[in-house]
């Protein structure tokens, strides 16, 4: 249930650490009730941007407005945060930390609701230091929800989780969205962003390179499809006159084209077997790589 009104507006946000510019004058707005994803390679400025919006870090310049006004003291009561890495106090059980965090806020959700919505029942009386990665992330999510927040910030919440735990977590986030809350998410997983986010911004070097709904961005940046043919089925002379762009991989040839009918027809005419051909459309990962490059980041 996405509202068109922005709940958060970021204007000309900049953050410098000495000579290093971590966030370079970015602007965007986040609609109420939607899921907004910040994507980018390591060191792109995602977490810094998120922490400035959350009020954890101060900006060098620029402003962040919540419901049309600059964020103030009340903001902390209305947001929930799950940091990329968070430690909890030692020797406290899941129940202890839930109760402690509930006591820090004015308006809170009943403990049982948190237990149910985040599936905490099995290990409620377990020391938080003895939880598995997935269990721990669910506890941290529950802590982000104790105050029934209007906005939930999740900084790489599924990093390090196995596929089952990750998909389970996606379900929890989808549940939060269903309740009408705004979710702001950073992630390295493009599939995660595609499944969960209504809108994404791809960042690199502190700047936003692209912003919009995932499907719209894909349409804007890519046309046509990818055709993948094993190298042994493809003759080097076959590519003459084909409508598309060729990419030679280790095991295959890839053709990006907007004229699938013509390409397939031409390939058959030139005797190329299509029995093992694969066809796919471009995804967010392709877009991410196209925009941010293939260089290894820190």
């Amino acid at each position: 249930m996405t509202n068109t009104n922005p709940i958060l507006e970021v204007r000309n946000l900049r953050k410098n650490y000495g000579k290093l510019t971590a966030v370079d004058g970015i602007s965007f707005s986040i609609r109420e009730g939607g899921c907004f994803g910040l994507l980018g390679p390591n060191g792109a400025g995602k977490s810094t941007t998120l922490e400035i919006i959350e009020g954890i870090k101060s900006a060098t310049s620029g402003e962040v407005n919540y419901k049309g006004v600059p964020i103030g003291d009340r903001f902390k009561e209305e947001i929930g945060i799950q940091f990329q890495s968070t430690a909890l106090q030692d020797y406290l059980t899941v129940r202890d930390v839930l109760n402690m965090f509930r006591s820090l806020y004015k308006d809170t959700v009943p403990v049982q609701d948190l237990i149910d919505s985040c599936n905490l029942g099995e290990y409620l009386d377990r020391d938080t230091s003895k939880l598995s990665g997935g269990q721990r992330q669910r506890v941290l999510l529950a802590l982000a929800l104790v105050n029934d927040p209007k906005i939930v910030f999740l900084d790489e919440p599924t990093t390090g989780l196995d596929p089952q735990a990750r998909r389970n977590f996606w379900g929890l986030i989808a549940g939060i969205k269903k309740k009408g809350k705004t979710v702001v998410l950073t992630t390295h997983y493009m599939e995660e962003a595609y499944v969960l986010c209504d809108e994404i911004a791809i960042m690199d070097h502190g700047k936003i390179l692209a912003i919009g709904a995932p499907d719209r961005l894909l349409k804007e940046h890519f046309q046509g499809i990818w055709i993948e043919i094993p190298k042994e089925d493809f003759k080097s002379s076959s590519k003459e006159g084909l409508l598309g762009e060729f990419f030679e991989r280790e095991e295959s040839i890839e053709i990006q084209t907007n004229h699938a009918n013509e390409v397939f027809r031409a390939l058959l005419e030139r005797g190329v077997s299509l029995n093992r051909v694969k066809v796919r459309s471009q995804n967010l990962e392709d877009l991410f790589i196209q925009l941010t490059g293939k260089d290894l980041r820190g």
């Binding site: 940091f83 430690a87 020797y91």
Partner: protein
């Protein structure tokens, strides 16, 4: 206001649970001072002063008159100049000083010796055997009193020292570790205010220190039957003030640091000189005047001095304005600095 108190209580409750459930740390908090008292107390009781200790009474402004006495050149005797006669006599009564000598300008040279002190007996023989070196005669003043054993004297220092380590490392080190591992960052994202968090940490530790100290006090009393001549309430109030002062000092260290190793170094840099120069193990009376002056900057010095005055001399708290004033003043200064420079990250 109510909401603020609720947050404070939540942080306090969490910290208390942490401490109580950390059995290893809790056990060590009790075991360490008991081991020290047992070790040092039994090792030194009855042979606490390997050298003889003689006080030379010299009222302020009076020129040195005792210099001619051959006795003063005797080796292996520690001579301490005192300016107040009555406290010096009380020390002879308690065997804390073996002999008190008051060489006057005229008349006989008075000396005080405890009739039940073996060391006093030997020193008296040495004194009389060495002669006055002049026409004056010696005049003996015999005093009586139960011996204050080394362990009686030591106990206030041990309790105070344990309090110091407990406060410095129990608050300062813990907050630095919280900062390093991200606990403080998570709390910063909540409406919890630094003052609420810090006061919860401080109060939690204050309660725990007082609880541990009370258990230790009772345990040691039962174990070594040390002297306690003053008011228990006065001692409790002074100890609370001392603990608050140490905790406040630790908050300064914890205000910004995020390296446990560095914090550990700073805490050791503060605690070790305090331990050795605040009179935990030995009296500072005979120490170099500069050392005595340096010792005054340590809160532990004032805490131990006040605790000994209450426990050994039975001095009421109202008569310890220096100790109470210094501890109270330092607490305020440390708290102000610590809370004003505190950062979550």
């Amino acid at each position: 206001m109510m909401q603020s108190f609720k947050r404070f209580l939540a942080a306090l409750n969490a910290r208390n649970k942490e401490f109580v459930r950390d059995h290893a740390a809790l056990g060590w908090n009790f075991a360490f001072p008991i081991l020290v008292v047992a070790g040092f107390g039994f090792a030194f009781t009855g042979k606490s002063q390997e050298i003889y200790k003689v006080s030379i009474y010299q009222p302020s402004g009076q020129t040195q008159q005792a210099g001619d006495l051959a006795f003063l050149k005797t080796q292996y005797i520690q001579f301490i100049t005192v300016t107040d006669l009555q406290p010096a006599i009380e020390k002879v009564e308690r065997h804390q000083t073996d002999l008190l000598l008051a060489p006057g300008t005229t008349g006989p040279i008075r000396y005080w010796v405890n009739s039940t002190s073996p060391k006093g007996y030997f020193l008296e023989k040495v004194l009389l055997g060495s002669g006055t070196g002049a026409t004056q005669a010696f005049s003996k003043e015999e005093v009586h009193g139960k011996e204050i054993r080394y362990v009686d004297w030591l106990i206030a220092g041990i309790l105070s020292m344990n309090m110091m380590f407990n406060a410095l490392f129990g608050v300062g080190y813990v907050i630095v570790r919280y900062r390093k591992i991200g606990v403080l960052k998570r709390l910063k994202a909540t409406p919890l205010k630094p003052f609420e968090f810090l006061s919860a940490q401080a109060l939690s530790r204050l309660f725990l220190i007082q609880f541990v100290s009370t258990v230790l006090f009772v345990g040691c009393k039962w174990m070594v039957h040390f002297e306690m001549r003053g008011s228990y309430l006065d001692l409790f109030i002074l100890m609370s003030l001392g603990a608050a002062c140490m905790i406040s000092l630790s908050l300064i260290i914890a205000a910004r640091l995020s390296s446990e190793e560095f914090a550990n170094g700073i805490l050791n840099l503060i605690s070790w000189p305090m331990m050795f120069l605040s009179g935990v193990w030995f009296s500072l009376e005979g120490a170099h005047p500069l050392v005595q002056k340096i010792a005054l900057i340590f809160p532990l010095t004032h805490l131990i001095s006040g605790a000994r005055a209450i426990m050994i001399d039975g001095t009421p708290l109202a008569k310890l304005p220096m100790e109470v004033g210094m501890l109270g003043g330092m607490t305020l200064v440390f708290l102000t600095i610590g809370s004003s420079i505190f950062k979550w990250e």
